[in-house]
Point group: C2
């Protein structure tokens, strides 16, 4: 058995049976070995950032890693932006990066570069397989290490092609650390003081119905305010579930949201900081005199800790949950709010919403809170171009659930070829492109950083209007049927139609300027 | 004056007056400052890899750096693949990467990452501007350092926005090292021995008419064989110039090409190695018993060294040059050879050819050798997705010259949004997409690495046919008029028409399968 075969069989044995791949010459034995191991599904992407973004979403939805297959340093470079997002999601990913044969490394061939340096910036774990005899065990270790985030396995071409490899047994995952009862007791004591407190939830708590219910019971029983991190990796939402407001993105609004808070209790979240630094603003919205208490850190069993805390401080409390309700279908020209209302009116049961709407997403959370149960995936690391790839990964992870991407236009262009993968795999993904013809978030930032008098030349660097991007033609060129709408009625019509048919669709929603 | 203004004014003063930009929030003051310094031309790209590939080609054509403007670590990540190619070109690039404000760095905000580690993998020089007082001098140093390749300047947002900065004077470039006469004498002695010798030229020699003429005189006067590196950054070519054959890419052909060579004399090139390692093949095509002599290393004045050598060993020799001739316009279905013949028949005087044809480019060099004078840009680092961005950079560098991109289909998809920049800037770029519906080079590699029985599942990972990529619609969606051709006559018709009109065009050339 050669190294590639042992690698793939070990991955499959450890439960990793999807590989989002964009291979090159050094990965040809891995590709060939796919024919020997039919349990591994290879999903081709036309750009590495699609593979890595898809692996992030796949992991968020299944809790299990997918593998990637990237080509040397430049391929890893192309995949880095979405691996950065995966790092911020703490998503398990087995990131396989092919490299030159060992004997070829010292020759400084044209594609030679420092793969390990690149991998180190996004990975919780990096290993280079040194021989065919090692590769099975390396793969098993990679799957186990992926519990902590991106595990990068660098795979020399000759380790792939050489015989003498063997399949390794899966390595049991390390147990999730429990939160000590004393920590729960300490936080309970804080919440009993009757001082203004915020329970700040994030990470795996947001993906857990039990976690959200426990948090909402604590809020109901103690008067503690419940707030979520701004961009949780995955949120379970909808009618019957607690609807936890998220900390606003704009720094002034975030500051106002936490003003007067005496105690900030963290459950699965880090203490919040602003996305960017700004002149004359502090770096974090947490008030200077606010005490921060960590009930659970990311990676710990925050759900159990919240349940213990709820039992302690709010034994009889009932959580407040979202009522089943949908917005009235709006009419007339589209703006972010009416677009959100259409989505809220039509969101199907069990949908997975991939939210890279950015400035066009105002109102989206509110308008969908009472929709049937669904999952919500956010842009965790701020590296744009995550939406279309994540939609692919979510659809591969959950083939029986509809995926709806709400996608900003500028961001869509970073990884537009993901649409081809939607079509190739017949994925049930409906993409709504929010077309405002600009980098809307940057127009806002240009004024807010103090550069208020942005003139003609500066504005032109943020304007996508000349020539306008025609997403209907782009989608058609990539095999995805598409339409263009300018009114809420037409959006409802086209979105409804797309949702009623399986397979990929795209709707270019032109927003009123 | 704030840091951004001082930076841009210093760059302009040092001759850097084009910036290929894909900015984000942390770069908003740089964007705003563009209105204060109209001498700096900002060119917007929709993806960072377009900006970096454009800067590479701009530098190859002008010998001067352009600036880039990238957004934090993820933006640099997206730009890395084409910075890798620029590194292999030794192209001067001033790579400006915005970063968080200094006070924000320690907060581990979502977009925080190790920019310096990423930059180190592609840069000849990396510096982080530490204060507004430094940024002018840092920019001047970056321009000087770019003589050696990519110079990355990391620019914290608050260094941009803070007052107290000043413009710095340009730093004179270090002189190009001359080759000592003793080295020329030693090589002359080798060539006089009448043993089988190859003069292996590359780098700046290929971009110099004088360098190529000197090399061809040496060949004519001594019987030394003349051979060029496989992927020179820029080659001056056409009727009346020496047509130097390039070392073949396939390892077996490269080995055959150098078989029996007793002396390999390097001028501007490194000793060749194969692109990849393969089972049972040596890593380099240089015979074991061949002596390698470096006349000039990359970055040294190889042209002067060749002229001195020519005077010494071939004083009266006349160089062999390509005769003015064009292929007969072919007819019938398209294949790589007939496509190349059409290009050779129509190539206009002064054209810049951007060659990312890969497997579809067989015959291209031969069919264009006798065309009117032109420049040829190759994929230097093997990181695909360079063609469309390089075409943009070459057209910005040389607005009065037609640019023709010969572009493989799979590679085009990595940076397809470059077409939008072609349209936005009204660039005179004609892109011929060679549509073979597959990663042709990988199908070849799949069999040649020994994985000969690639089955259905493996083949599917190399096939771009389901759904087929419709480049006419993709181009139209990005504002570039396009057509699709299946015969040589139709290609000639459409290519001729595109070349007769200014502005961008695309022709999807469907190759017979």
């Amino acid at each position: 058995m050669n190294g590639a075969q042992a690698l793939i069989r070990t991955l499959v044995g450890a439960g990793v049976d999807v590989c989002f791949a964009n291979p090159g010459t050094s990965e040809m034995h891995f590709v060939a070995a796919l024919d020997d191991v039919p349990e591994m599904r290879g999903v081709l992407t036309l750009f590495e950032g699609v593979a890595t973004g898809a692996a992030d979403a796949y992991a968020r939805m299944t809790g299990r890693p997918a593998a990637t297959l990237l080509h040397l340093g430049p391929g890893l470079g192309n995949g880095l932006a979405n691996l950065h997002n995966a790092r911020r999601s703490r998503a398990p990913v087995v990131n396989v990066v092919g490299d030159h044969a060992r004997s070829h490394k010292r020759l400084d061939a044209p594609l030679e570069s420092d793969i390990d340096a690149l991998a180190g910036t996004v990975s919780a774990w990096v290993r280079r397989s040194l021989s065919p005899a090692d590769v099975g065990a390396d793969a098993a270790d990679a799957v186990a290490a992926a519990r902590d985030g991106v595990a990068t396995l660098v795979l020399p071409a000759d380790v792939s092609w050489s015989e003498g490899a063997a399949v390794a047994e899966p390595v049991g995952p390390r147990p999730v650390p429990h939160v000590p009862p004393s920590v729960v007791d300490d936080v309970a004591a804080v919440l009993r003081r009757d001082e203004p407190a915020v329970l700040f939830v994030g990470g795996e708590v947001m993906a857990s119905e039990a976690g959200l219910r426990a948090a909402a019971r604590i809020a109901a029983g103690t008067g503690t305010r419940l707030l979520a991190e701004t961009f949780p990796p995955r949120t379970v939402r909808g009618a019957g579930l607690p609807d936890v407001p998220r900390l606003p993105y704009p720094p002034e609004m975030a500051l106002a949201s936490l003003e007067g808070t005496a105690h900030l209790v963290l459950a699965g979240a880090q203490a919040p900081v602003h996305f960017f630094g700004y002149p004359d603003l502090p770096g974090t919205p947490v008030p200077r005199d606010c005490a921060v208490h960590a009930l659970s850190r990311p990676g710990e069993d925050g759900v159990a800790a919240l349940e213990a805390l709820a039992s302690a401080v709010a034994p009889g409390a009932a959580p407040q949950v979202a009522e089943a309700q949908r917005p009235e279908p709006p009419s007339g020209p589209l703006d972010p709010r009416s677009l959100s209302a259409v989505v809220g009116a039509l969101l199907p049961e069990g949908a997975i919403v991939v939210d890279e709407a950015l400035t066009s997403g105002v109102g989206l959370a509110e308008m969908t809170a009472g929709a049937p149960r669904h999952d919500w995936l956010s842009l965790t690391g701020g590296s744009i171009g995550d939406g279309l790839p994540m939609a692919a990964g979510a659809a591969v992870a959950c083939p029986d659930r509809p995926v709806i991407g709400i996608q900003a236009d500028g961001s869509a262009m970073y990884t537009i070829s993901a649409l081809w993968t939607h079509a190739r795999e017949g994925l049930d993904v409906t993409t709504v492109v929010c077309d405002n013809g600009s980098y809307g978030i940057l127009e806002h930032e240009l004024s807010r950083v103090g550069a208020a008098q942005g003139g003609e030349r500066a504005r032109r660097l943020l304007d996508l209007g000349g020539p306008p991007l025609d997403f209907v033609q782009l989608a058609a060129g990539l095999g995805v049927p598409a339409s263009r709408v300018e009114t809420a009625e037409h959006l409802a019509d086209q979105l409804g139609r797309a949702l009623s048919e399986s397979g990929p669709h795209l709707v270019q929603a032109v927003l009123r300027r």
